[in-house]
Symmetry: C2
Subunit: 237 residues, 2 copies
């Protein structure tokens, strides 16, 4: 069977969460006199909570709640670990801080690459981000998605196989007709184990140049590129 | 509260199902020597089954299945009523015939009007069409949706209130911040009863010039326009 549609991981693959979260968290921490905190480390700590929470979400037995809710909980948890009382901020401040994830900047090649890929294939999100977050991000970063699928649509979080299989089913396609595009080997490994096609996009700056935490999961993927534009060229778009 | 997003009915409001279904059904009926059947009546009969099936879907207790499946069942049912054995057609023929609904032509103003509206507001589908159908239709008719919500996302069919409330919840908004855009008074009446804003777009040719079946549900809606372009102008887009 041939490729019929592309499904994308988003955080880290299409947008640069670290630099945006770092930059926009600065004023909040400065306001309470905590400019001593390294902003990149602050962003990394928030993101680390995301990874650990979602890796075990299915096993936790917790009912599905959207990522906006989880991002807010993780922020408050991380602040407490830094000995900061979340009550030092207003409800509006905590809400806006959490919504940094709605306005992450894209990698420089994302909008052009996705636009080229979309001319030939349906392009959908297969991300843990919720619908409202993904719509806001798409407007901010000019991402021309055909549909927002993934976590909220399937009421499950990657790496739960249901997130992948439910997204592919909504496209009316077989698993081997849909390619997951991701900068993360562990994400691609789940997709491959289910029978999906795989495309790796290298994002060496996702962690500021440090190795990705899932480097050990690296394999020879069906496609590998160093940008969305390069992937588009490889796929004849 | 002010308008924050627009949610659209699609069949009849954004696309002209009748002329496309009529035109594309001709060759199938001609193939079996049934050119005596009026093609507009054929389209109307198929659509009538859609309306009666979905009006009672919730009460039927049937598990959610996507509209592609229901459209196929309705086609076979309608053929039998016309004394045509569906077995006169191959599986591929019946599948392609059903997929007429994936490639409906837009009303002439839809693509331009939606593009203008999208520049200011998120625009999402609040249709009974499934995701695969809506993606294919959007590519065919150049409809720039921000997200495909509605029936498959909420696992319910309009006029079930869950379809409306689930779509609004996914946008992270309150009901009174989202406007349903529809050519159908009965659809708008449900939206208004739930607290949503309402915009009527007149489509006098949906039934070939005949009155709409839900004319008795007409009310003074929050907005009324004779095209998507006119609606965009009214909303300052």
């Amino acid at each position: 069977m041939a490729l019929q549609a592309l499904a994308f991981d988003v955080f880290g693959t299409v947008v640069d969460w670290r630099s945006t979260v770092s930059r926009e968290s600065g004023p909040y921490l400065a306001k309470i006199g905590r400019s001593d905190i390294d902003l990149d480390c602050f962003a990394d700590g928030w993101r680390a909570r995301y990874i650990s929470t979602l890796l075990t979400y299915r096993e936790s037995g917790r009912k599905f709640v959207v990522l906006d809710v989880l991002h807010r909980e993780m922020l408050e948890d991380w602040l407490r670990e830094l000995k900061i009382d979340p009550g030092a901020f207003s409800e509006a401040e905590l809400g806006n801080w959490t919504k940094i994830w709605h306005r992450l900047d894209p990698w420089p090649d994302s909008a052009e690459g996705l636009t080229r890929l979309k001319a030939r294939y349906p392009i959908v999100t297969l991300s843990n981000g919720n619908v409202a977050l993904m719509i806001a991000m798409a407007k901010h970063a000019n991402l021309p998605w055909d549909a927002i699928l993934g976590a909220e649509f399937t009421r499950s979080y990657k790496p739960d196989p249901a997130t992948y299989t439910g997204t592919v089913a909504a496209l009316g396609l077989e698993l081997q007709e849909v390619c997951l595009v991701a900068a993360h080997h562990a994400d691609l490994a789940v997709a491959r184990s289910l029978g999906m096609l795989t495309a790796y996009v290298d994002r060496p700056l996702e962690y500021g140049g440090a190795p990705h935490p899932d480097i050990a999961a690296a394999q020879a993927w069906d496609h590998a590129a160093d940008s969305m534009i390069s992937l588009a060229a490889q796929l004849g778009c």
